[in-house]
Amino acid sequence: MSEQKKTFVVTRFDPDQDAAPRQQSYEVPVQPDWKVLDALNYIKDEIDPTLSHRWSCRMAVCGSCGMMVNGKPSLTCKDACADYGDRVEVAPLANFPIVRDLVVELEAFLEKLRSVKPYILVAKERAVEEGTYRQSPEQLEEFKQFSLCINCMLCYAACPVVANEPEFLGPAAIALGHRYNMDSRDEGQHERNEIFRGEGTVFSCSYANECSEVCPKHVDPAAAINQAKFNAVIDWLSGFVTSRGGK
């Protein structure tokens, strides 16, 4: 097995010089075991040190290296160069403002994540002497799948609703909120369900299922969103028979 020359067409954008993103081609001698990220690092190290891209762990855990590869949201440390032809187009994640080259603006995503209160909410913290919060394997199983998200944002790049409705919370944020709603230790379901019943949340999802198709960790955000729809409605209905009065 020997190296193979491939042309990488990479989106470049320098906010100080470019009016709009442009494309630049690089000839890369690709080794048989290389991932797309390896090729980008080769470009950065050997051809063009001005190229900017995010990466860290190289083992599909940190979620930093999500990009569009040949028009599809991909985790570049996971996608093998061998799976692509002689011409590989690499672009920043779709649906995100571009900060520089392959680096996108994350702040809106973090704002959306924060808005679903992604932490365990309890009415009253348990005293230390009362012991730990215990959870059975069955209770863990209810939300474990949704806790595997690495915030790579591929789902946002794939979602047609994110592209058209800026206020939409988006797949990862809703999946994370749902993950805490399903956690037996959490008491914040009503609080989060009120958020989920608001504008631009679970009911904006048209179940395109694209988020789940591209998720590298098989979190299945589309399932989380649609389960969250059901729970949000049940929570609203239960308000009529409890002291909340339909709230």
């Binding site: 028009g71 672009a91 649906n95 571009i98 702040e107 809106a108 047609p160 800026p166 589309a222 649609n226």
Partner: protein
């Protein structure tokens, strides 16, 4: 990367310190088979809207007397109408199959103490219900029952 999306997509509430390029989506994104299927799924709504108008016309003719009803029945035998209804049937089957495929995983983890059955069981139930309802409606329309 050339097709613009909503320029405010994934834009933070407060602008950052550096200028950013507006969000984009790759050319040909909507031509990819998965997205194309999704767009076709959404587009079937137009066919259902038209079917709704035809249904209103049927009700209107029913209330307008035997002559209007006979005239409508004559028009509905027009090959264009037949083709339209065949298209509507294809749309219904397409949407039903997609809906059935996605329905099981949208079920809540549990409703009270009860857990939903496994996905394949839900799927089989949906198809059984679809076939059952189709047979019942066909039997009624064909006059086999409720004469």
């Amino acid at each position: 990367m050339a097709r613009p999306v909503n320029p405010h997509a994934m834009t933070p509430s407060r602008p950052g310190r550096t200028r950013t390029a507006p969000p984009q989506a790759p050319n040909g994104w909507y031509a990819q088979p998965r997205m194309l299927r999704y767009l076709l799924f959404d587009a079937t709504g137009i066919v259902y809207l038209l079917v709704g108008f035809v249904a209103l016309r049927v009700v209107w003719a029913l209330g307008s007397g035997p002559a209007a009803w006979a005239e409508l029945m004559r028009q509905l035998r027009n090959p264009l109408y037949v083709a339209f209804h065949l298209l509507a049937l294809v749309c219904v089957v397409f949407v039903a199959v997609r809906f059935f495929r996605l329905f099981p995983k949208a079920q809540p983890g549990h409703i009270g103490p009860a857990k939903p059955p496994p996905g394949p069981v839900i799927l089989a139930g949906l198809y059984a219900a679809w076939i059952g309802v189709t047979l019942v409606v066909t039997a009624i329309l064909a006059g086999w029952v409720l004469r």
